[in-house]
């Protein structure tokens, strides 16, 4: 017991110490889109200045034509097992059969939705609304002949790798 109220310290390191996080999203598979989005959202909720840089296949996460339609295939992923059936392996050859990617994508989307975790476009809305910064890679845009109007509206700009390195000075960095 003390006369001074015991209060959680909310504004300690992150907001005052200027903690920054940079996340490079380079994959366009459904399962690889989520780690970056979830960590970005968590960091923003902790008051951390957060920047996401979308490059190569990661462009599919912010391309208006693909962002709502990312897919999951377990081809090449030997860790895949049917939901809840740990230790039961799925034949790799089956992953290549027509229609299997659609099925596994549907299954994964359902599991994600069951946790009340949003789909990619809505997740971007959440991150954008929380003050997260979204950047697109210049070289990828040039390769894919994409322009700002092709990308999610919250993307602040198409910038070079050097520009991204410059604006994330002092940041912790994740490459996904």
């Amino acid at each position: 017991m003390t006369d001074t109220p015991f209060v959680p310290s909310f504004d300690s390191d992150a907001s005052e110490g200027g903690r920054k996080l940079a996340i490079i999203c380079s994959k366009g598979n459904l399962d690889m889109a989520y780690p970056g989005l979830i960590l970005a959202n968590a960091a923003l909720g902790e008051g951390v200045e957060t920047h996401l840089f979308f490059t190569f296949w990661g462009f599919d996460m912010i391309n208006k034509k693909t962002m709502d339609d990312l897919k999951f295939s377990y081809l090449g992923n030997t860790a895949m097992h049917p939901p809840g059936a740990f230790g039961v392996s799925m034949p790799q050859g089956m992953a290549g059969l027509p229609g299997v990617t659609a099925l596994t994508t549907k299954m994964m989307k359902k599991q994600i939705a069951d946790l009340d975790v949003p789909e990619v476009p809505e997740f971007l809305d959440l991150i954008h609304g929380s003050g997260g910064h979204l950047w697109a890679c210049r070289m990828s845009a040039d390769m894919m002949k994409l322009h700002e109007e092709d990308l999610y509206d919250g993307v602040e700009g198409i910038i070079s790798a050097s520009d991204f390195i410059e604006l994330t000075e002092g940041a912790q960095l994740l490459f996904i």
């Binding site: 109220p5 909310f10 992150a14 907001s15 959202n41 959440l126």
Partner: protein, 104 residues
């Protein structure tokens, strides 16, 4: 279990200072808790806090920022403006509830 005295009331708190007994809370106390973390409560602040209380009563879990936004219809941007920095934790604190456990 540690306790602390706020506004003349003895409250059960955890090691971080979050209240552990939601029964000890009322809105007058919520306003005091808010003051301690630099927030002056307005009607706009009370809307999410009241949602947290009613949702916790049903779900027995503190809603995440996204849940507050989608279920109470308050844009995330507004929640960050009302409770700057760490809105989910600050709202939980003011509402006398545990920190949210969910990732998203």
């Amino acid at each position: 279990m540690p306790t602390t005295t706020i506004a003349g009331r003895t409250l059960d708190v955890n090691e971080e200072g979050f209240m552990t007994n939601p029964e000890q809370w009322d809105e007058a106390l919520g306003a005091e808790l808010a003051k301690l973390i630099g927030v002056d409560m307005t009607e706009a602040h009370w809307a999410p806090i009241r949602f947290l209380r009613s949702d916790f009563a049903v779900q027995h879990e503190t809603p995440t920022l996204r849940r507050v936004s989608t279920q109470a219809g308050i844009p995330v941007k507004d929640l960050f403006a009302l409770f700057p920095g760490k809105p989910a934790k600050k709202m939980a604190y003011v509402a006398g509830l545990p920190k949210p456990k969910g990732c998203v």
